[in-house]
C-alpha cells in the first residue's frame, strides 16, 4: 500500500465541499492510492480518474450529484475568496492550489476583444493530485551528463499524462542538489502553469532542491529571457514547450551556454521529426538528448536517446 499516495488523496479530498469530501474519504484505501484526479461535473456523480479510467466515487442518487453551488464553493475556497488573485490562471482554465494540487476549471468563457478574460458559470472541475516521485531521476541524471559533468540539453517525451512533469521535477531536484560525483547546479525554472513548483504565495510546495530559482506564472518565452538576465542559471527547465516563441527563447538561452530541460507531448523522437514545429526545434540543434517516458509492468520506464540534428527546411 502506497501510504504517501493515500495521504495526498486525503489532502486533496480536504479541498472538496463538505458533502463531497465525506464521499471521497469513504473510498477504500486500495482505490485511493490509484486516484490521479477527482472530477466534478454539474448534475453528475463525482468520479475519480485512475490509470484504468474514470470510476464513480459517489452513488448516482440525487443527493450525491454535484451541484453548481458545490463548484462555486470549491473555487471560492481554493482561491481563498480572492478570485482576483487567481484571475490570470483562471482565465487559462486552471488554479494552483495550496498543497501542490492543481484544479482544472471548465465553464462559460467570458470574451473581451476576442480573448478569454475569465470563466463564469462553472460546469466541471478536475482536481489533479500532483505526485512527487522523489528519486526517480537518480539513475537518469548520469546518462544526461557529459564526461565533464555538464548537463546535455534534454527533451522529455511522452503522451499527455505519461509522467513527463513528474520526471522533470525530480531531474530538477537531483541537478540542484548534486551528488558525491556531481556538483550542484543552479537551476532556474519557468513554471508557467504552476505544475512544477506548485508555488503558493511565493513558496514552492514541491521539492526542487536548494539551488533552484522558480519564476512562477510567467509565460515561458518571457520568463527564460528574464531568468537569463537576472539569475545567471546553469540550467533552465520548462514544462511543455508549445510555441515558436518558446523555441526561440530556448535557442537564445542555449547560445548563452545554458543547458536546457523541457518536456513535449510526443510518443518518441520519430513523432518529433514528423511535426513541423518540432522539426524546427530539432534543426536548431539545441537539444542533444531525449528521455522517452514509457509505461512498464512495474511502473514508468525512462529510455535515453540521442536526438538527431535534422534539416528543418526538408519535408518529413
Amino acid at each position: 500500500m502506497d501510504n504517501d499516495r493515500i495521504r495526498r488523496y486525503e489532502q486533496a479530498a480536504e479541498l472538496l465541499p463538505p458533502r463531497l469530501r465525506r464521499l471521497a474519504l469513504e473510498l477504500p484505501d486500495a482505490r485511493k492510492e490509484r486516484v490521479e484526479e477527482l472530477r466534478l461535473r454539474v448534475r453528475q456523480p463525482m468520479t475519480a480518474l485512475t490509470r484504468e479510467g474514470e470510476l464513480s466515487v459517489a452513488p448516482a442518487d440525487r443527493e450525491a450529484l454535484v451541484t453548481a453551488d458545490d463548484l462555486e464553493r470549491m473555487i471560492a475556497g481554493v482561491t481563498e475568496y480572492s478570485r482576483y488573485a487567481s484571475a490570470e490562471t483562471l482565465r487559462q482554465g486552471f488554479l494552483t492550489v495550496r498543497g501542490g494540487f492543481r484544479l482544472g476549471v471548465c465553464g462559460t468563457a467570458v470574451m473581451r476583444e476576442g480573448a478569454v478574460c475569465g470563466l463564469k458559470d462553472f460546469s466541471s472541475l478536475a482536481l489533479r493530485i500532483v505526485c512527487e516521485r522523489i528519486g526517480i531521476a537518480a539513475d537518469v541524471v548520469p546518462r544526461l551528463c557529459d564526461p565533464t559533468g555538464r548537463l546535455q540539453s534534454t527533451l522529455i517525451l511522452s503522451p499527455p499524462g505519461g509522467g513527463k512533469t513528474t520526471l522533470l521535477r525530480d531531474l530538477i531536484r537531483c541537478l540542484s542538489l548534486g551528488s558525491g560525483e556531481r556538483r550542484a547546479l543552479r537551476v532556474a525554472v519557468v513554471d508557467e502553469r504552476g505544475e512544477l513548483a506548485a508555488s503558493c504565495q511565493g513558496r514552492a510546495q514541491t521539492e526542487l532542491g536548494g539551488h533552484t530559482d522558480v519564476l512562477d506564472g510567467c509565460p515561458k518565452a518571457i520568463g527564460i529571457t528574464m531568468l537569463l538576465r537576472a539569475m545567471s542559471p546553469q540550467v533552465i527547465a520548462v514544462d511543455e514547450i508549445a510555441t515558436r516563441e518558446d523555441i526561440a527563447a530556448m535557442c537564445a538561452a542555449a547560445n548563452c551556454g545554458v543547458s536546457l530541460l523541457a518536456t513535449i507531448h510526443a510518443r518518441g523522437t520519430e513523432e518529433l521529426a514528423r511535426k513541423p514545429l518540432w522539426r524546427e526545434l530539432l534543426a536548431a540543434g539545441v537539444f542533444s538528448r531525449a528521455v522517452i517516458v514509457g509505461a512498464g509492468e512495474d511502473g514508468r520506464t525512462y529510455t535515453v536517446e540521442e536526438l538527431p540534428c535534422i534539416d528543418g527546411s526538408a519535408q518529413p
Binding site: A76, T79, E80, Y81, S82, A85, A87
Partner: protein
C-alpha cells in the same frame, strides 16, 4: 449624611455616563477612521499585488480595524464562507446602522475581479470617511449637549434627594 453621599454618587454617575457616552462616540470615530484607512490600503494592495483576502486581513487587522478584520480572519480559518463571516463581524461594529450595512455588503464583493474588489473597498472607505467628517463637524456641539444633559439630570436628581 446618607442623603449627601447618595447625591454625590448620583453626580458621579452622571459624570461617568457623560464620559462613557463621549468615549463611545469617539471610539466610533476612531473605528470609522481606522476602517477607512485599512480599506484604502487593502484596495491599493489588491490593485498592485493581488494579495489574497486572508493575507490582507492579517496585515491590516490591527488597532481599531481589528474589530472587523480579526473576527473575519478567524471565521475564515474555521471554514466559514467570506460573505457570511464578513456580515457577522460587521453586525457587531459600534457604528450607525446604515454604515454597518455598507460595510457588511463589502463581503460579497471581495471575491471578484481585482478592479471590482478594489473599487468596492474604496467606495466603502469613502463612505466611512464622509461619515467621519460629518460626525467630526458636529462633535463639539454634540459633546457639549451630552455634558449639559448628564450634568443637568444628575444635578436635578441630587437636588431632589438632598
Amino acid at each position: 449624611m446618607h442623603r449627601w453621599l447618595g447625591a454625590a454618587l448620583i453626580l458621579c454617575g452622571g459624570l461617568l455616563a457623560r464620559a462613557s457616552l463621549l468615549e463611545s462616540g469617539r471610539r466610533a470615530q476612531r473605528l470609522r477612521q481606522a476602517l477607512s484607512a485599512a480599506f484604502e490600503a487593502m484596495a491599493a494592495e489588491i490593485g498592485e499585488l493581488l494579495t489574497p483576502v486572508p493575507a490582507l486581513l492579517r496585515r491590516y487587522g490591527h488597532g481599531e480595524a481589528e474589530r472587523l478584520l480579526a473576527p473575519v480572519s478567524a471565521a475564515l480559518s474555521r471554514g466559514v464562507p467570506l460573505r457570511e463571516a464578513w456580515e457577522q463581524a460587521s453586525a457587531a461594529l459600534p457604528i450607525g446602522e446604515g454604515e454597518r450595512r455598507t460595510v457588511a455588503s463589502l463581503g460579497a464583493r471581495l471575491d471578484s475581479e481585482a478592479e471590482s474588489a478594489a473599487s468596492a473597498l474604496r467606495l466603502t472607505a469613502s463612505a466611512l470617511r464622509r461619515s467621519y467628517e460629518r460626525n467630526e463637524t458636529g462633535r463639539r456641539e454634540k459633546e457639549r449637549l451630552i455634558t449639559s444633559l448628564c450634568i443637568t439630570i444628575s444635578l436635578f436628581l441630587t437636588i431632589l434627594l438632598a
